[in-house]
Symmetry: C2
Subunit: 693 residues, 2 copies
């Protein structure tokens, strides 16, 4: 694997800076002042056409006049000057750049041409760059900060790749106020050259990064994202906030960095597939990312909650339960130990409610340690540790903040106070995250648990693509040759069957006598269907005749279908599969993601219920099983009302094969298998639409 | 209607205080010092057995020695002394008290006896009190604050009734930091006498309260809560955080104030019924409550979003869309007006993204006014107004904060900065709420819209109960007399039919010939079912035979059922209703709520999908229709796959009648109508279980 381009970009031994002047009111100057203040230790070369020096540093007229090829060029000049400047740097041997200047692809066709020119120059010289239209990068370990805001708390173990510059800079003060410290942070702008996927890969390899957060408005290379994330997430937690999945969200993103958005459900699916944990707010992204960065993993879902007030204890407990965590009632032995410490009518069961007890040493240390030591909880949430003037106790939290490491169990704190409170600051400065609100702490703990499940997932490589079926290729080619825009049901199912997908036994007939003969061969009851590629939806048009018993019914059905169709179309005589569990499966293509697979609840309620899951193809069998288990009605897959459990490997196999078919036959635009009926434990495809182009 | 007891309690002209000493380290003293600091203007009488004065105020030995009967007594003494003290106050004529002392019902049976004693004394003297086990009350208009924390910002239009004292006091600093100001706040403790429902009623009438927030761990008188809330919510917004609905949440609440919790889905339903907006976090409760208190109502769901950075604009837009709000693309005319103001490549479509433009006057005032004036948005969310030192512009926000009133449209602000930022403080001090995070602002706006829908709801009184059916009463009595614990299906349906609920035509038979005759009368196809009260679930036991055609099939089915049952049970011959839409309805009883009605998706998927809605009986027809529309699969109720729309009034009528039946026949413990099949547009009950006791 070639070295990730960000290794050098984030750790340059020398930096040239173009676009700063000595006028401290200009944006470029604010930025360079911030850069200098950040304490960068490498060689620094400001470039200015006239000034001899910039804020005390010797300035150079142009790249050509530099004493060496700087490892990184930071460019904040007028749009028209960017490409020539990049070329000049390329000529002297600089191979990395951060292009902050805006006005490229995000502004329309003209800007797109400008961006293409940047790419042309970069390719010519082998330059890799971040931007344009970004706010730059921060590497606290290298004291490198090209943005305009200080990261004042020093290096930390959390890293951030963002398609918004604001979230890297405008929030830095807010993050500082919460004690959240970055290792690396990158605003990726238009991703003309280095993408958020490159950034994820880089952060996955970066030794100073313990957890990764992503802000995403759209991913252009979706499949690579999945492949990279699947390598990273078993080792490091990755959290993502995706905001492009709604109409307005996509519109906002488009105008912003020209990112390519996809629907929300698609990203839900690929995040699940990739092991990326999706959050729904920027606050959760930062705060939970930080918790992952500083706390041990949560090994089970049994949580202890301790507080000195009932409201927050109830709120945490309720939110934790709703998120799928358990609050076990502590054993009598453990409760007795706790009651030794707390006052009379407090509760020791879990949540432990000390009631109005202001002994902060008990709340922060003694009781937590009793619980962590007991082994009855896998993690702990504490609310109420505060150092208010009205409190007459004082506590030394130095042991409290060591408990997570000692017992290798995460401890999260919830508080309504910020760093102005001495204890809050102590927690934050010693690696215990403080969530501003009980529910946030509970959500954070729930995601720690989700991540533990992700780490436990069975890894399995996707098997190699099967050989392409000549029969299938020929069928598609012939259909396209006849001007069809879809295969008819009979062809569609032959195509599926060619790849081993179980379909109904059936025969295509053109005459009534044939239909009767076919029915006898197949065995009653049978189904008759009108079969023609241009009939894509048969329901409600008299084109499906179910549960036919005997020759007379078949003959009548045959005539009825022909009459409904109004022409002598083919008629499909099909075995009648009975089974009350029905599902749908499908394949469609999204730009950047290639074939995307769908699995969902079928039957007539399917449309009204929208109970579906998505994945990007190809999928391994465990991935497909995971997907199938994602629908709300997953309970149907087990033993259900006297029916046997569905053969989940068979069902997953169909999903996997749909992906293979899509990859082997790019002429297939969409597939729709509806219904897939469960007969006994086995799935059988009862109808199929294959759209081609 | 008698005057609400809180009118006097919250506005006393004189207050006696028992439980404060001159030792400033004691809790009671901290509390009285806070009370004095709050600036109470009425007459104040500390009571102390020995000291002559308390913090400069003349002290009295006992209630008897007071110069008048104080209108309010605040009691923070040892548990055993509370009842005698209350009696002493009762004797001198005091009629209101706040009892802060804990150790009553929340501690178990012994404490419960102590609480019963308080109630006995209160009843004897007509005393109404808040508590015990509470932190007291705040009325900023009367400068009354019995809690231990200052509310330093002065009176505001938001009021709070809470089953947690912490949320009234520990969060006050946090609220002060967000500029959120209470009118009234009450910690209700064990609600031995004055309940959260009383508090809601009081706040509904209180002229200084514009919006109401509730923190709930459990409601004891659920039906009265609904009735009171239904009167309040068309006039004032009510938001609630309920945390008792999960196992651990309920356990936490129980140990805390002994509140009675009910499952989450029940509260979801009754909040909907009552017009109460449910939130999921304490932060949302405060922040959204404040937005309701200070902003105009949102009249439509078209939202404008404006920012100077893409990330927050995308986040707000995405979150708003997900919550059901629309971000209309602005008209060409409006966009042209906006483009006159902003720089070249900014976006004017909505969200309006000024990109990196630091002109705060444009962001805060000019563009918002253009949008509000245009009529193309019903409300506005602004992100990015900050007064950082790096910003070289200055803005006067005085017009910005007037825009909501001028255009009668809500404006919400999102920011990553707190009151340390001058602009944030200005907004907060002038009635524009500042949400800490884009998604919170979007959620707030979405709830403003939900409330506008609540105000538009058709009000209709529940009709008077119908007369009790003698036939039904007799049937229940006879069944109980026979030792049945349920009616059999035939009886159950006769009971439903007695109240006009449509059920399948059917006949109960004991002999094969009768079955054949009945089938002929009813008309083929028919269903045969084993009918006995102790067979509560027939599926999978051979006791249901569907789609029977002709005498032979009926005879065979009759014998099969008898054989499966293993005894000569009655057999029900029933018309076979066909219809692919199936629902379930039911009734069960929850302590405090009386009969609770269920409506849900039926069919074999019902169990796996758990798609249900709940309401408390009785319900009006519009209420029942609203309930029916709450299920996820509500799309099935309209025209669907060639089937006509369901007669929603008939369906709602069944729900309503179930409620009436439950109220008229308290011997009915549960009813389960499953399935209710939609035949054509009409619902028919195909099976019914009525549990009696």
């Amino acid at each position: 694997m070639p070295e990730n381009p960000l290794h050098l970009l984030m750790n340059p031994r020398s930096v040239a800076w173009v676009g700063a002047s000595n006028n401290p009111d200009k944006m470029g100057s604010i930025q360079v002042l911030n850069f200098l203040k950040s304490g960068y230790k490498g060689r620094f070369y400001p470039i200015h056409p006239r000034d001899e020096q910039i804020f005390g540093h010797k300035a150079y007229k142009s790249p050509e006049s530099l004493p060496e090829a700087p490892e990184l060029a930071v460019i904040i000049v007028a749009k028209a000057s960017v490409a020539p400047l990049l070329e000049a740097f390329g000529k002297i041997g600089t191979r990395r750049a951060v292009i902050i200047t805006a006005g490229f692809k995000e502004t329309g066709a003209d800007g797109k041409r400008g961006e293409d020119e940047l790419n042309r120059v970069a390719e010519k010289y082998g330059i890799r760059f971040v931007g344009p239209n970004c706010i730059g990068v921060i590497n606290t370990q290298a004291a490198l900060n090209t943005t305009l805001v200080q990261h004042s708390l020093g290096p930390g173990p959390l890293s951030f790749a963002s398609q918004s510059g604001t979230y890297v800079t405008q929030t830095l003060r807010y993050l500082n106020a919460k004690g959240i410290r970055f290792s690396k942070a990158m605003s990726l702008g238009n991703e003309a050259n280095i993408s958020i996927v490159d950034a994820l890969e880089y952060l996955g390899e970066d030794e100073d990064t313990r957890s990764i957060i992503l802000y995403i408005e759209g991913i252009r290379d979706g499949r690579r994202f999945i492949d990279v994330a699947k390598r990273v997430t078993p080792r490091k937690p990755v959290l993502a906030l995706y905001v492009g999945g709604s109409d307005a969200g996509a519109r906002a993103g488009m105008s912003h960095t020209g990112a390519l958005a996809g629907p929300d459900y698609l990203y839900d699916g690929i995040f699940r597939q990739a092991g990326v944990i999706r959050v729904q707010s920027i606050e959760d992204l930062y705060e939970q990312g930080w918790a992952f960065a500083v706390q041990p993993l949560l090994k089970g879902n049994r949580i202890g909650v301790i507080s000195n007030s009932g409201g927050p204890a109830s709120s945490i407990s309720h939110a934790a339960n709703k998120e799928g965590l358990q609050l076990p009632v502590f054993s009598e032995k453990l409760q007795a130990e706790i009651r030794n410490v707390i006052v009379g009518h407090a509760s020791s069961a879990n949540p432990v409610d000390m009631t109005f007890d202001l002994d902060m040493l008990k709340l922060s240390t003694s009781i937590p340690e009793i619980i962590l030591k007991s082994g009855e909880a896998d993690g702990l949430i504490i609310h109420g540790v505060i150092d208010l003037s009205i409190m007459m106790t004082d506590a030394d939290l130095s042991r409290a903040v060591k408990l997570p490491e000692i017992y290798q169990k995460p401890v999260l704190v919830s508080s309504f106070f910020d760093r102005a409170d001495r204890y809050v600051a102590f927690y934050e400065d010693h690696g215990t995250p403080v969530f501003e609100g009980p529910e946030k702490a509970a959500r954070g703990m729930a995601n720690l648990f989700r991540y533990s499940r992700i780490r436990e997932r069975k890894h399995s490589d996707v098997p190699a693509l099967p050989a392409r079926s000549g029969e299938a290729s020929a069928m598609i080619a012939a259909a396209l040759g006849r001007g069809q825009r879809a295969l008819d049901e009979y062809e569609g199912k032959r195509l599926l069957a060619a790849y081993g997908i179980p379909v109904t036994r059936e025969k295509l007939v053109m005459r009534e006598e044939e239909a009767i003969r076919a029915a006898a061969d197949i065995g009653y009851p049978v189904v008759l269907k009108g079969c023609s590629w241009d009939i894509m939806h048969k329901t409600g048009k008299g084109l499906i005749q179910l549960r036919l018993q005997g020759e007379e019914q078949v003959a009548r059905a045959f005539r009825a279908i022909r009459s409904s169709a109004g022409k002598d179309i083919g008629v499909l005589v099909q075995e009648m599969i009975t089974g009350s569990r029905e599902f749908v499966m499908g394949m469609t293509r999204f730009p950047g993601f290639g074939p995307v697979l769908l699995f969902g609840l079928g039957g007539i309620f399917a449309e009204a219920l929208q109970d579906t899951a998505f994945r990007s193809a190809p999928v391994s069998i465990p991935e497909a099983q995971d997907m199938i288990g994602d629908i709300r009605a997953a309970g149907l897959l087990g033993e259900f009302r006297g029916m046997p459990a569905v053969d989940s490997e068979s069902l997953a196999g169909i999903v996997q094969k749909l992906g293979f078919i899509a990859m082997l036959h790019p002429e297939i635009a969409e597939m729709d298998l509806n219904p897939v009926i469960i007969a006994g434990p086995q799935p059988v495809v009862a109808d199929a639409l294959v759209v081609i182009s």
